[in-house]
Symmetry: C2
C-alpha cells in the first residue's frame, strides 16, 4: 500500500489555501491542504507496523512549535507549483530527517522545502498570471503544530488518514 | 467548529464504495467512505478537549471487532440514500451510545443504522434504476475495526482528520 506523512495546518489556513486550490489545484479533492513531511512510499503491513512504533517515538520527543508563512513562492522552473512558503524551522527538518532514516525508506527526491501547495499543474500562461497575482498578495500566516498524520492512498488517488501522532501524547 | 466521528473501513472496502460514489454520491470528494458514529456537531476548543479525553477512554475500553456487510439497502422513503448495510454489532451500538451521552452533545436525529453510503441525492428516476441494479448485486464484505477518527469540517464542506483513536492504544 502507498503511504505518506503530512501535517494539516489549522482550519483557517486550510480554508485560505482551499480558496486558491479550488481553482488552481487539480489535487484539491484528493487531500486537504497540508505540509508534506514524507512523500508517497510503499510499505507492507509488517513494515508499516514497525514504522508506526517509530513515528510514536518521534512524536513523543517533539514539543509543539509555531510556523510562519510570509510569502507565496514557486518551484518553477522545476515544476510550476505555487505554494505558501513555510519559514525554515529546525523542528520541521528534524521530523523530515527522522522519517528518511533508519527503517524508513529513503524516498527523498528533492531537498526538503516545507510548503503548502495552493496551485499546481497549470498551463504555462495561466501559471504566469496566477503566480504574478498571488506573489503580490500580502501573506502573513502563523500556526501551531502539535501533530502529524500517516495517510494511505486509495485507488482513485485520494488519501485517507490511518493514524494521527500527537507530540508528547503517544502510548508506545 | 463543526466536528464529526467516523470509522474508515480498510482500503479495499473504500475502493469498492468509491467505485459507486464516484458516479452516485455528490459528497464523493468531501470525505472518504466511512461509517458515521456521530453526525456533525458544534464544539468550542474547551469542549473538544474534554471530549478528546473521553474518546481516549472509550477507545481504550474497546477490543478490535469484525463487521460484515451482506447487502445494499436504502433509507427510502426518508431519503434516497443507498448504502452497504453493516450487520448490527453490540460494539458499534456501544460506541454510538457513548458518543451521545455524558459530555457529548446528544445530536442524534434518527435511530442508529450503521452503514457506508454509496449513493445519495440522486434524482428520483435515477435513484430507482441505481437501487434496483445495486440491490441485486452480491455483496459480501468483511472488515476488522480497531479505531475511529475525530474530524472537523472546512468551509468548503470537506472533512479533515483531527485525531485517530486506536482501541487499547491511547495515552490518557
Amino acid at each position: 500500500m502507498k503511504y505518506g506523512i503530512v501535517i494539516f495546518p489549522t482550519k483557517e489556513i486550510q480554508d485560505e489555501a482551499n480558496s486558491y486550490r479550488k481553482r488552481y489545484d487539480p489535487h484539491y479533492a484528493l487531500i486537504p491542504p497540508h505540509i508534506t513531511l514524507k512523500e508517497s512510499f510503499e510499505a507492507d503491513d509488517q513494515l508499516i507496523n514497525d514504522l508506526i512504533i517509530e513515528l510514536k517515538h518521534i512524536a513523543n520527543e517533539m514539543d509543539p512549535f509555531t510556523i510562519h508563512m510570509n510569502k507565496v513562492s514557486t518551484f518553477a522552473p522545476i515544476t510550476n507549483t505555487i505554494y505558501f512558503k513555510v519559514e525554515p524551522r529546525q523542528e520541521l527538518v528534524d521530523l523530515y530527517e527522522r522519517m528518511h532514516a533508519g527503517k524508513f525508506p529513503d524516498n527523498q527526491e528533492y531537498a526538503f522545502v516545507p510548503h503548502i501547495t495552493i496551485a499546481q499543474k497549470l498551463p504555462d500562461d495561466e501559471y504566469s498570471d496566477v503566480y504574478s497575482s498571488l506573489s503580490m498578495k500580502k501573506t502573513q500566516l502563523e500556526d501551531q503544530i502539535d501533530r502529524f498524520q500517516l495517510m494511505y492512498q486509495l485507488e482513485n488517488g485520494s488519501w485517507t488518514v490511518y493514524e494521527t501522532f500527537v507530540f508528547g501524547k503517544e502510548y508506545v
